[in-house]
Every structure is written in structure tokens, then in C-alpha cells.
Symmetry: C2
Subunit: 166 residues, 2 copies
DNA sequence: AAATATTTTCAATTTTTTTTGAAAGTTTAA
DNA sequence: TTAAACTTTCAAAAAAAATTGAAAATATTT
């Protein structure tokens, strides 16, 4: 398999994985392209390589920057903006966990807390409250653990965790 | 807030969360409905409550059973099938992790392994290979850890993990 | 074996999400 | 200040995903 073919396959793999995780296919492909690119790429280069429109390219690049895993790079003597992906995969992973925790996990915890205020005058909400409690139990623990994962150094975390397995 | 209102809000919350995780909105709502229901529900009851068609209800119930988090319950003297959701949230969590690991993580690891076979005769694939290695590093570790999580008892795992935080 | 109840399937439709592309906006250079 | 280079926006179009509903299949009862 030639290098370019492998890169292409990687972009496809990343793209098709995306939709199972609620991530825009094109966004994942732009990310993959930047990951395998040895040099920063301009919007035009991304458009040409992935055969997508300018609007689409722009939108997804911006979204990736919002996730904190792609950044702008300015080239001297060039007016265009260039983009690079953070190549430190552990960092990318941490960044995504951090964002999803903030965007999705925390709101859901707040929402469950809210639902615990249900009127239980005659005790009819007992089962419901038990469900909310067990959900809260799992989600808050996940929250704490993900926070730990995000803040820690990879090697420290992994060595600790791998010890647990034995 | 009345109990029924709270249940409805819970179903909505669960449903809207779903799409960020690549899960069908209705499937999440059916799941939520079964979670908050104190009794097993028939397809007809699910249709009526969520205002969805028979085909849709059937499809999503079946999908939930495929994920191993909803099961059929037969009532004596009733010809209809009834459905119940596993109320043990830790179990539900484990089951979902287990399935996603099998359906998504393992194939992606296999795919990256495949891409490592790229032709590197003249050394031009060095950076690409380094990227594949670091991806493999993170994904295989995640794989091992999730496997641990899935196989372990909640309390054991949690007590161990919480110790790490201190 | 026929009638009835129930579940499943799937082509057609609807809804939602993504993408396009051109116009508007912004920045830089002459 | 004007023009050119470049980026952003967003309404319309296209594509993808979800949903419907009725017909077919299956299961149960009489």
C-alpha cells in the first residue's frame, strides 16, 4: 500500500467512525486530513483534497478549532490562513473528553438533579427517585473520573490503571 | 413538579442527548420510557405514549434488545409481548460500553493495524507510521481499560479508581 | 383449517442534517 | 482610498436519516 493510499484510507476510516459518535463526517475527515498532513494546509487545499465546498470547509475547520484540536498557523509572506492539527493523540483525546464532559455530561447531571425535585408527597415517586439516584451515581462518578483523566499525565494515569488489572 | 411531568421531561432529556452520541432519538426515548415505567409495556402502549408509529416502535424496541438493555417479558393470559428495561444503571452502562467497544473500537484498531502495513521503502511514511502508533497506543489502552470496566464489579472498580484521585 | 391477533418488513414519505455557492464582510496591500 | 485577496455567512438545495403505514409474515386460538 502506497503512502497516499494509506492516508486516504485513514481519512475514510475516521470519517465513517464519526457518525457513530454524533460527529459530522466531514469534520472528522478534515481532522484526519490535517493529522496526516506533514505541512499546514490552507482552506483551498482542504477543499481540493476532500472535494468539498468552501463554506463546508470553513465551517468544519472553525468547529475543529472550537474543539481545541486544530489551530491556525500563519505563514510569512502568505495572506492565507493555514491550519494544523494537534498531533499529540493523548492530548486530542483529553481535549475531546474535556469538551464533551462540559457540553453533554454536566448538563445532563444538572438536569437529573432538577428532576429529583419531583413532588413525592404520597411516595408514588419512589421508583423514579431511585432511578434518578442511580443515574446520578453513575454520571457523577464518570464526571469525576473523566476530570481526573483529563488533568493527569498519560503515563502516570496509565501506569496506575494498568496496575489495577493485575 | 408532578411525577408524570418529571417522567416526560426525563424522556425528552434522554432523547435529546441521544443525537450527540450517534443514537437514534426515538430509540433513546423508548429506552427512557421503559426505564421510568413501573410495569412492562406493550408495543401499543409505547406507540401511544410517544406518539410514534408501529413500525418505528417495533424497530427501536428490537434495536434496544440488540444492545442487551431491554428484554421481552411475557404476561400470562396475554398474547402481546411486553418489554422491560434493565433498571440496573451500572449494568446498562457496562452493556453499552461492551457493545460499542465491540462494534466500533475493535474494528478501528484492526483498521489502524492494517494501515501500519503501508509501504515505507524510502522512509517517507515515517510520520504517518508514528501517527498510527500513537493512535494505536491510545485506542488499545482504552480497549483494555474498558474491558476491565465491563468485567468488574462496580464497587470494586469505583473504590479503586477513587483512591487514585487522592 | 380458518379466523384472529400480533409482529415484522419495507417502499414511500417526511424530517433532519449537511452541503453548496454566491453574496456580504473583512483584511491587507498598493 | 481603492482594489484585490481572503474569510464568513446563510438561504436554498441536496443528501442522509428517521418515520410512517399498510401489506406480508408469523403465531395463537377456536
Amino acid at each position: 500500500m502506497k503512502l497516499n493510499e494509506a492516508k486516504e484510507k485513514f481519512i475514510q476510516t475516521w470519517g465513517s467512525l464519526a457518525s457513530s459518535w454524533g460527529i459530522n463526517r466531514t469534520m472528522a475527515m478534515v481532522h484526519a486530513l490535517l493529522l496526516v498532513s506533514e505541512t499546514p494546509l490552507s482552506t483551498d487545499e482542504i477543499m481540493e483534497t476532500l472535494l468539498i465546498s468552501r463554506g463546508n470547509a470553513n465551517m468544519n475547520i472553525r468547529e475543529l478549532m472550537g474543539w481545541g484540536i486544530v489551530r491556525k498557523e500563519l505563514k510569512m509572506g502568505e495572506r492565507k490562513e493555514f491550519f494544523v492539527a494537534d498531533k499529540d493523540i493523548w492530548n486530542v483525546f483529553k481535549q475531546i473528553v474535556k469538551e464533551r464532559r462540559k457540553r453533554e455530561l454536566e448538563p445532563v447531571i444538572a438536569s437529573i438533579e432538577e428532576l429529583k425535585k419531583v413532588d413525592n408527597g404520597n411516595g408514588e415517586a419512589g421508583e423514579f427517585l431511585a432511578l434518578m439516584d442511580s443515574l446520578l451515581h453513575v454520571t457523577t462518578k464518570a464526571n469525576v473520573l473523566l476530570d481526573l483523566a483529563v488533568k493527569s499525565d498519560e503515563n502516570w494515569l496509565m501506569s496506575k490503571l494498568l496496575k489495577l488489572i493485575k
